[in-house]
């Protein structure tokens, strides 16, 4: 890949991301972190494409492990984001059910 094209893509995408995230709701700081984590889960795409072009046995083993860990990370991040949205929209829990920590 031409390094100049790569650099332009990185600059444009970073600028786009910065302007997009800057307009987000400032009350939800944690969601930005979860969104970055979900996007980091897309590394599974890089891992799978590395696995399908691997030619040696050690290369296949290492990339297969990379696919396993990245799929775990991607699914975990999506699941956490889903839970965070549910927590936000969930009605407040009564103190008797909320556990000792909140009851105290």
């Amino acid at each position: 890949m031409d390094p100049v094209i790569a650099l332009y893509t990185v600059l444009l995408a970073t600028a786009l991301g910065l302007s997009g995230f800057a307009r987000s709701d400032t009350r939800r700081r944690g969601r930005g972190l979860l969104l970055a984590s979900v996007l980091a889960g897309f590394i599974v795409v890089a891992a799978v494409s590395a696995l399908v072009i691997a030619t040696t046995i050690p290369g296949m083993i290492v990339t297969a492990l990379a696919v396993l860990f990245s799929a775990q990370a991607a699914t975990t991040a999506l699941s956490l984001l889903w839970r965070e949205i549910h927590t936000e929209t969930r009605p407040p829990v009564p103190a008797s059910k909320a556990g000792t920590e909140d009851a105290l």
Partner: protein, 279 residues
């Protein structure tokens, strides 16, 4: 075979849907057309579609192995995203932080393993210096992220004793970082001695991860996670460069933007708001 272009074939459409999903998620429930739940579903569908496109275009090359590994990874995810025992908001937030650190561990390991593959699958003694540099940096970022995530998870679950951050810890951290970067640079410049240099660099990265997780108050755990997510974004962008995929380059850059926004810019806006003169 150029897989970068095959990722990008569907990647352009995927990038558009990702941006739409991010718009829906960052605006919250005020967006009636695409609420947060629909946006998460759209993100998941996009990920599955891109993966399916890569597997479909690969033909018979390790496709079954890749599918099995993906399914195994998905099956282990519920263990790292466990729900808390109580229904309190505090327990839910702690549980999400726990899951986030486990997700960071997985991503860090994946980046380190992909960097290692990039080093050994190519002929590192003859290939271009930029590919060697990317492989070494990926291994370093991956191992550092893995160690930091692991230490944070251990601290969050009280498996490790409480530690008070000192200035000496930060200085030692900077020295270890400088040594690891120097060794990585030497490994790129002198590939004949790279094996020994990379082993020492990996050990230093493990040490650095432990130092960076111990050298903070536990209330700042999200800042460490934010920093490492930004580093993971940089690693994904570099992998995109190696695989000649503009999609991965754009995704990595978006992650870096999110991390920069979380770590630095949001605070600036907040400070400006509090510093503004009151009429």
């Amino acid at each position: 075979m150029n897989f970068g272009l095959q990722i990008d074939l569907i990647g352009w459409f995927a990038l558009v849907t990702i941006l739409i999903s991010l718009h829906g998620l960052s605006r919250g429930s005020s967006n009636r057309l695409l609420g947060p739940r629909r946006a998460v579903v759209l993100l998941a569908i996009t990920l599955v579609a891109v993966l399916a496109a890569v597997l479909w275009s690969a033909g018979d090359n390790n496709t079954l192995l890749a599918a099995i590994m993906i399914l195994l990874g998905v099956a282990t995810a519920p263990f790292s995203a466990r729900r808390p025992r109580t229904l309190s908001l505090r327990a839910e937030q702690d549980s999400i932080l726990n899951g986030l650190s486990l997700s960071t561990i997985g991503s860090g390991l994946a980046v380190a393993l992909l960097g290692l593959t990039g080093w050994f699958e190519t002929n590192y003694r003859l290939d271009n210096w930029d590919l060697r540099l990317i492989a070494v940096v990926s291994v370093f970022i991956g191992v550092w992220t893995f160690a930091s995530g692991l230490m944070l998870w251990l601290r969050l679950n009280a498996y490790l004793p409480e530690s008070t951050p000192t200035q000496m810890q930060q200085r030692v951290g900077f020295v270890v970082l400088a040594m690891a970067l120097g060794l990585g640079l030497l490994a790129v410049l002198f590939p004949s001695f790279a094996r020994f240099l990379m082993i020492v660099m990996v050990l230093l990265a493990l040490e650095l991860g432990a130092l960076s997780a111990f050298g903070i108050a536990i209330t700042q755990a999200t800042r460490v996670l934010g920093r490492h997510l930004g580093l993971l974004g940089a690693a994904i962008a570099m992998l995109g460069y190696v695989q000649e995929s503009l999609f991965l380059l754009a995704i990595g850059s978006l992650i870096m933007a999110g991390a920069i926004q979380y770590l630095y810019l949001r605070r600036t806006i907040k400070t400006r708001a509090t510093d503004a003169p009151r009429n």
